[in-house]
Symmetry: C2
Subunit: 331 residues, 2 copies
């Protein structure tokens, strides 16, 4: 992977499989298209690394790390996500099971189920797939998971630790973005970054790590100057901030929000958005927040949807689960 990055211009020639290439624009001049940050390939690499580490862990006499995913109701997307997480876990040697509940489950019953898992010494990671049915208070449920088993990083204590730059469990999607910036060697120190979207599970933790001090205990700080934009950022202000940004991370779920004329040439664009749309032919497909086909002509690097942050999120959840298992064992 590193090889690819440092030899970008050369590898474009040497390695035709690499998805960075020239195109001829309408005036006939050749331009270099953005480097595509292949999250699928990177996730595969990270999972392979984890698989070896977990193998060594088990070989040294430890119990395999274990994960429990709780799902309430029948939302098909949620079931797909959980299925992918369980499959990834099993693939790399994490013992994983799903606990499926009817959508009529009460909040108290769900919390009791979580408390049983908290006490279960054979369980390292607990994940409650969101969203939950309307009658259940998600915040209360997130806080019911024992902080040391909270592999989603949504517990108040884990949020507090993240915001104080302390070692903690970081929400997987946010960690995926930071890990991609690191592994693809996107410089963040002193750079100007924009995070679009202020959700507590995604936008906020990303902004937190991007602007924080690298020398603090968590080691996750990226020392960028960071602007958080959101639904009440006027369009012209959003455009202005994006145009000045070296790095844009967008996590809104609004297709085509980020257009080519909002990108500084050469900037890095990380697309966390994922929305299922129906095209003119009546086919459904997944798209991000970014007008990909045009942005790829201006940006220096861009993540595709699908195949960008999505698979990396699953890989970082596996990272979190193994981290939880190690930490619980140390206690």
């Amino acid at each position: 992977m590193r090889h690819r990055i440092w030899l970008r211009t050369v590898s474009t020639v040497l390695n035709p499989k690499m998805r960075s290439h020239t195109y001829i624009d309408t005036l006939g001049s050749a331009r270099i298209m953005a480097r595509v940050l292949d999250g699928k390939a990177l996730a595969k690499e990270i999972k392979a690394e984890l698989k070896i580490k977990i193998h060594n862990w088990v070989s040294s006499g430890q119990r395999a790390p274990s994960l429990r995913c709780i799902i309430v109701g029948e939302d098909p997307a949620s079931h797909t996500y959980v299925k992918n997480k369980i499959a990834a876990a099993i693939e790399i040697g994490i013992e994983a099971q799903t606990l499926k509940y009817d959508e009529n489950l009460t909040e108290e019953a769900l919390i009791t189920a979580i408390e049983l898992l908290n006490e279960d010494t054979t369980v390292d990671g607990i994940l409650v797939q969101l969203p939950l049915p309307n009658n259940i208070d998600e915040r209360r449920v997130c806080n019911a998971v024992a902080p040391e088993k909270d592999v989603d990083g949504f517990h108040i204590t884990n949020v507090g630790q993240l915001c104080l730059d302390m070692p903690t469990i970081v929400p997987a999607t946010a960690l995926a973005v930071i890990e991609m910036l690191k592994r693809f060697k996107i410089e963040t120190f002193g750079r100007n970054a924009v995070v679009v979207g202020r959700s507590k599970n995604v936008g906020l933790p990303i902004a937190m790590m991007l602007h924080s001090d690298k020398n603090h205990d968590s080691g996750l700080g990226m020392d960028a100057t960071v602007t958080v934009c959101h639904r009440y950022t006027p369009p012209e202000l959003l455009q202005q901030h994006c145009r000045n940004a070296d790095i844009i991370v967008t996590a809104t779920g609004v297709p085509n929000l980020i257009k080519a004329d909002m990108i500084k040439p050469g900037a890095t664009v990380i697309d966390v958005g994922i929305t299922r749309i129906t095209d003119e032919q009546g086919k459904t497909k997944l798209v991000g927040d970014v007008d990909y086909d045009e942005v790829v002509k201006v940006a220096g690097a861009v993540t595709p949807v699908p195949g960008g942050v999505g698979p990396m999120t699953v890989a970082m959840l596996m990272h979190n689960t193994f981290q939880a298992a190690q930490k619980i064992w140390q206690q």
Copy 2:
């Protein structure tokens, strides 16, 4: 106070005491100087309000709210701060005492002292004056204070709740800034704001409230677009962000960092910095981060140092103490 704000241009004429006035610039044209956001007067107003509320609370049969300030060592500035806090508390009817310890106090002994106050049902608020001697881990000490008595808002749980927009105890300086914006009717919704400084006790909680959703449970969200700048923001980038900002909050402790040519005409500038400097005559004086004499000619509103955020911080600490007392009573 409202009267003053809405009739600003009129009151400049009607009320010669109001510190907004015209000056003649070097080309001879008259300009309106910034409105001075008088933190001292506002703090007095807020303390008077609290005094009435506490009087009513006690009249209804409740015990007076109580505050304990712990100070370790002989730092003169810290002793002055604590003295001011205790005086303000007593003035408005809060029962307040200082616990003074030698600088050789061990971390364990300090934590034991805190735990005794945690268990003391006659104590509502506990404050440990920072900085602590080098042999003591400040983070551990902050987390030793019971979250419901943590009137500084530094406990991990309170930080987590703040970052999740939940009702909590907010660090007094950050709350002072937000309260000043509210009471002086500075519009924040959809506006472009810059926070200079990323400290966990000041810059971070200010940025958090400024960018958050007003409709969330805390009710403290200001819905601004927020950029966090810090020591690794290149000077030209800091200048660029500040020049585009409707609101600048600076909390760095670097005198004269924010100059007039960095201010958009009419912008609001909140100066949280406070540094003791020695002038050419050998006199010491307190200054903020802002080149006040020049900025006041460009900005629309500005806080002075001293007399701006400083006194408001003390007032908001009193607010936090009364809030803690009420909440503990409800439990």
